[in-house]
C-alpha cells in the first residue's frame, strides 16, 4: 500500500513527462486563445494596442447586426451544408469501389492520391484555369455547341466553383481513411453474412457501414472543421467575388482586422467561429455515437 505522498509523487513524475508538450501548448495555443478572448471584448486598432479600451459585448453585437459579416457567416454555412454530405458520399463510394487491392485499383488509387500532394494554392490555380472563360471546360462546351459558362461572374456559380475545388482536393483525403477502415473489417463477418444469404447491398448497409461508423463520425467532424476554416481555396480561386458572394467567415475576420481596423470585432468573429465549430462537433458526436451504441 502506497502512501498518499508517494502516489502524489508518482503522479507528479507522470505529469512531468508531459511538461515539454504542455509548455509548447500553453505558449502557442492556450495563451493566443486567451489573448483572442480578451481582444474580443476590446475596441481599437491592432496597430496601436495601447489604445485598446473595453467594449463589453458590443463587438459580438456588431457581428450579428452588420450584414457584411452575416453574409460571410451564411456563406460558410452553405459550404459546410453542401460539401460535407457530397464530399463524404463521394469519398465513401470511391472507397467501396477501390478498397480491394488489385492492379487496376492501384492505378486509380495513385490518381486519386494526386490532389492530396498538391498544395491548396496550386490546386486553386489549376481549377481557376480549368474553369476560366477560355479554359478547357468552356472549350469542350464550345466543341459540342453549348455556350460557355462564366463561373466567376455569377454569385452561385462562383460558390459552386469553390465546392468543386474542395470536393476534388479536400474529399480525396477521406477516401483513404475510409479505404483503410474497410480493409480493417474482418472477413469473417462478410463470410458469415454470405452464408446467411445476404445480398450485396445488405452486406454494405448492414455489415460494413455499421462496422466503420466511428470512422465516418471522425471524417464528418474533420470535414466540418475543415470546411468552416476554408480560406486559401476561395482567396486564390475567386478572391471572394463576384461582389463578395463567395466569401467565407475567414474573410470577415480578415476584413474586420485589417480593412475596418477593428481587431475586437475580428476576435469576436473568431471566438464565435470556434464556439460554433465546437458545438457542431459535439452535436455530431452525440448524435452519431448514441445511434451506434443503441
Amino acid at each position: 500500500m502506497k502512501s498518499r505522498k508517494e502516489r502524489f509523487k508518482s503522479q507528479l513524475i507522470s505529469f512531468s513527462f508531459l511538461l515539454p508538450y504542455l509548455i509548447v501548448a500553453v505558449v502557442f495555443s492556450f495563451l493566443p486563445i486567451a489573448v483572442v478572448v480578451w481582444l474580443s471584448f476590446q475596441r481599437g486598432s491592432l496597430l496601436d494596442l495601447s489604445s485598446l479600451h473595453g467594449a463589453g459585448f458590443a463587438n459580438f453585437a456588431a457581428v450579428f447586426t452588420k450584414s457584411l459579416y452575416m453574409k460571410s457567416i451564411l456563406n460558410s454555412l452553405f459550404y459546410i451544408v453542401v460539401i460535407l454530405p457530397f464530399g463524404q458520399f463521394i469519398a465513401l463510394t470511391l472507397a467501396f469501389l477501390l478498397f480491394r487491392k488489385n492492379k487496376v485499383n492501384a492505378v486509380f488509387e495513385s490518381i486519386l492520391f494526386l490532389p492530396l500532394v498538391v498544395s491548396m494554392v496550386s490546386a486553386s490555380i489549376m481549377i481557376s484555369y480549368v474553369l476560366s472563360t477560355n479554359g478547357p471546360v468552356n472549350y469542350l462546351l464550345a466543341e459540342v455547341g453549348l455556350p460557355g459558362i462564366l463561373w466567376f461572374s455569377d454569385p452561385v456559380l462562383a460558390k459552386l466553383a469553390v465546392v468543386i475545388l474542395e470536393l476534388w482536393k479536400g474529399s480525396m483525403f477521406y477516401v483513404f481513411i475510409y479505404m483503410a477502415a474497410l480493409r480493417g473489417v474482418p472477413s469473417d463477418y462478410i463470410d458469415a453474412a454470405r452464408i446467411d444469404g445476404a445480398a450485396k447491398w445488405q452486406e454494405i448497409v448492414l455489415i460494413k457501414l455499421p462496422l466503420i461508423k466511428h470512422i465516418i463520425l471522425l471524417c464528418v467532424v474533420l470535414s466540418t472543421i475543415a470546411q468552416s476554416q476554408m480560406f486559401d481555396s476561395i482567396f486564390v480561386l475567386t478572391k471572394g467575388g463576384p461582389l463578395r458572394s463567395s466569401e467565407s467567415i475567414y474573410f470577415a475576420i480578415y476584413r474586420a482586422a485589417f480593412l475596418d481596423d477593428q481587431i475586437g470585432i475580428s476576435a469576436a468573429i473568431a471566438i464565435l467561429l470556434m464556439l460554433a465549430v465546437l458545438a457542431i462537433s459535439i452535436f455530431q458526436m452525440t448524435v452519431l455515437r448514441s445511434r451506434h451504441e443503441s
Binding site: I13, L47, D48, S50, F152, P242, Y254, D261, Q262
Partner: protein
C-alpha cells in the same frame, strides 16, 4: 539518485523547449554585432521586375561607403502589404527602414514611425515640392522622406490612332469619340485598363475626390462622383468601347491585349513604359495627359493616379541615425541613375530628375506631369476605401446597381466602420 536524474531530465527538456523559442527571436531583426557594427533591415514592396538586383547594387555601394552599417533587404509583395506591415509594426520587430505609400498616415497615427524633423532641416525639406513633403507629414511632423514620384499617363497605340485618323483627345467628349473610332470587331477596344484606381480617376476628373479633406469620409458621395462613375459605366455599357468586366480573365491578359495592339488607349502608371519595353519592344506607343473631365480645378480635371513613395524609420528602430544615413544615400541625386533609370520611375526630388530619361518623349511628358501631380487626401482608411471602390465598380459593371445606388451604398459602408 533517481530523483536527481529525474530533475535533470525535466530541466534539460524544459531548456530545450525554451531555447528553441528564444534563439529564433534573438537572431531576427536589427542588432549590433561586434564593435559598433550595425545591421539595418529594409523592407520594400517591389514596383519593377528588376528591382531586387537594383537594390542589391545600391546596398553594396552604400555598405562600401559605410563599412560599419549592413543593410538586409526584404522584398515584400504588394499583395497583403497591409497585413504584413501591420503585424510587423504591431509586434516589436518592425523593419528599421520601410517604404511607405498611402498607408503612412495610419502607421504615423499609431505612433509606430520615427519623427524625422530632427534629421531633416527646413532647407533640406525645401528641395522637395510641397506636395511631396505634405505627403510625408502627419499632424505637422515629418514621418516619411519622399523618394519616388509616381504619376500616370494615358498610353495609346500610335498605329491604331494613325489608321483611324484619330487626334489626341483633349476632353471627355473627344475621348468618347476617339474610343468609338478605335473600337473594331469582336476584340479591338477603344479604351482599356478601367481598373479600380482609374475608376477613382474618372470621379476625380469629374470634380469629386477619394476622401473629404480630413480623410474621414468618402469624397465621391456627391453629384460629381456619380457623374464620374456614370462616365466609366457609359464607356463600357452604353458606348461599348471598353471591354466588359469578364472579357479578360485577369488584368495581365488585358495588359497583354494592349501589347498586342488590341486596345487603343490605356491609362497607366509611368512604370508601364518599362513593361512595354520588355514585353512589346516593337509596339508603336505614345502617351498624353488624361483628357480633361468637367472638374473646375484644372489639375483635377486631368488627374490620373499619382502617389508619393516615402521612406520611413520605425519608432522601434534601435539605429535611427544609421537608418537615416541609408535613406539619405538612397535619395541622393548622385545615385538617381542607379535606381530610377533602370526601374522607370521618377524621384520625388526634382533636381534628381533633370538628367533622367533624356530624349524619351513619353518620359519627358511624365517628368512634366510631376509638377501638377494630384494626390488623394491622406486617410487612415485607404485600404478600406479601395476595397469599397472595388465592390462599387463591380456592382455597376455587373448591372447589380446604378452608379447612384452604388455610391450611396459605398458611403454607407464606409461610414459604418469609422470609429
Amino acid at each position: 539518485m533517481k530523483k536527481a536524474a529525474f530533475i535533470l531530465l525535466v530541466v534539460i527538456l524544459t531548456m530545450g523547449v525554451l531555447s528553441a523559442c528564444s534563439s529564433d527571436s534573438a537572431k531576427k531583426g536589427s542588432g549590433s554585432g561586434k564593435d559598433g557594427d550595425v545591421t539595418l533591415t529594409f523592407w520594400k514592396a517591389l514596383d519593377a521586375d528588376n528591382e531586387e538586383e537594383i537594390w542589391a547594387e545600391l546596398i553594396r555601394k552604400f555598405e562600401q561607403a559605410h563599412p560599419n552599417i549592413h543593410v538586409q533587404f526584404l522584398a515584400t509583395p504588394w499583395d497583403g502589404w497591409q497585413e504584413k506591415y501591420t503585424s510587423a509594426f504591431a509586434g516589436s520587430n518592425p523593419p528599421d527602414v520601410s517604404y511607405m505609400s498611402e498607408y503612412l498616415i495610419k502607421f504615423a497615427h499609431a505612433g509606430k514611425l520615427h519623427e524625422l524633423d530632427s534629421f531633416m532641416s527646413d532647407s533640406e525639406k525645401n528641395r522637395f515640392s510641397k506636395t511631396a513633403i505634405d505627403n510625408g507629414t502627419v499632424n505637422g511632423k515629418l514621418y516619411g522622406v519622399p523618394f519616388i514620384a509616381e504619376t500616370s499617363l494615358m498610353f495609346y497605340n500610335k498605329d491604331i490612332f494613325e489608321k483611324e485618323g484619330i487626334a489626341i483627345p483633349q476632353t471627355w467628349d473627344e475621348l468618347r469619340a476617339a474610343a468609338k473610332k478605335a473600337t473594331k470587331g469582336p476584340d479591338q477596344w477603344g479604351i482599356g485598363g478601367l481598373d479600380i484606381l482609374n475608376t477613382i480617376s474618372f470621379m476625380v476628373q469629374s470634380g469629386a475626390n477619394l476622401f473629404n479633406k480630413e480623410g474621414t469620409s468618402l469624397g465621391f458621395n456627391n453629384p460629381e462622383g456619380i457623374r464620374g462613375l456614370q462616365f466609366m459605366e457609359d464607356l463600357v455599357k452604353r458606348d461599348k468601347v471598353a471591354p466588359p468586366i469578364d472579357f479578360y480573365s485577369s488584368p495581365e491578359q488585358e495588359l497583354d491585349a494592349f501589347f498586342k495592339g488590341k486596345i487603343a488607349m490605356m491609362p497607366g502608371s509611368i512604370a508601364f513604359v518599362n513593361s512595354i519595353k520588355t514585353n512589346a519592344p516593337n509596339l508603336q506607343y505614345g502617351a498624353f495627359p488624361a483628357p480633361a473631365g468637367p472638374a473646375e480645378d484644372a489639375g483635377a480635371a486631368r488627374a490620373l493616379y499619382s502617389g508619393i513613395g516615402l521612406l520611413s524609420i520605425a519608432k522601434a528602430s534601435k539605429h535611427p541615425a544609421e537608418a537615416y544615413e541609408f535613406i539619405k544615400f538612397v535619395i541622393d541625386p548622385d545615385n538617381a541613375d542607379l535606381f530610377f533609370e533602370p526601374t522607370g520611375f521618377f524621384s520625388a526630388l526634382p533636381e534628381a530628375n533633370e538628367t533622367l530619361f533624356q530624349g524619351d518623349p513619353v518620359m519627358e511628358m511624365a517628368k512634366k506631369s510631376i509638377q501638377t501631380m494630384f494626390v488623394y487626401p491622406a486617410s487612415e482608411s485607404f485600404a478600406k476605401a479601395i476595397d469599397i471602390v472595388t465592390q462599387m465598380r463591380e456592382a455597376v459593371l455587373r448591372n447589380v446597381k446604378t452608379p447612384e445606388q452604388a455610391i450611396k451604398d459605398a458611403a454607407k459602408e464606409f461610414d459604418s466602420t469609422q470609429k
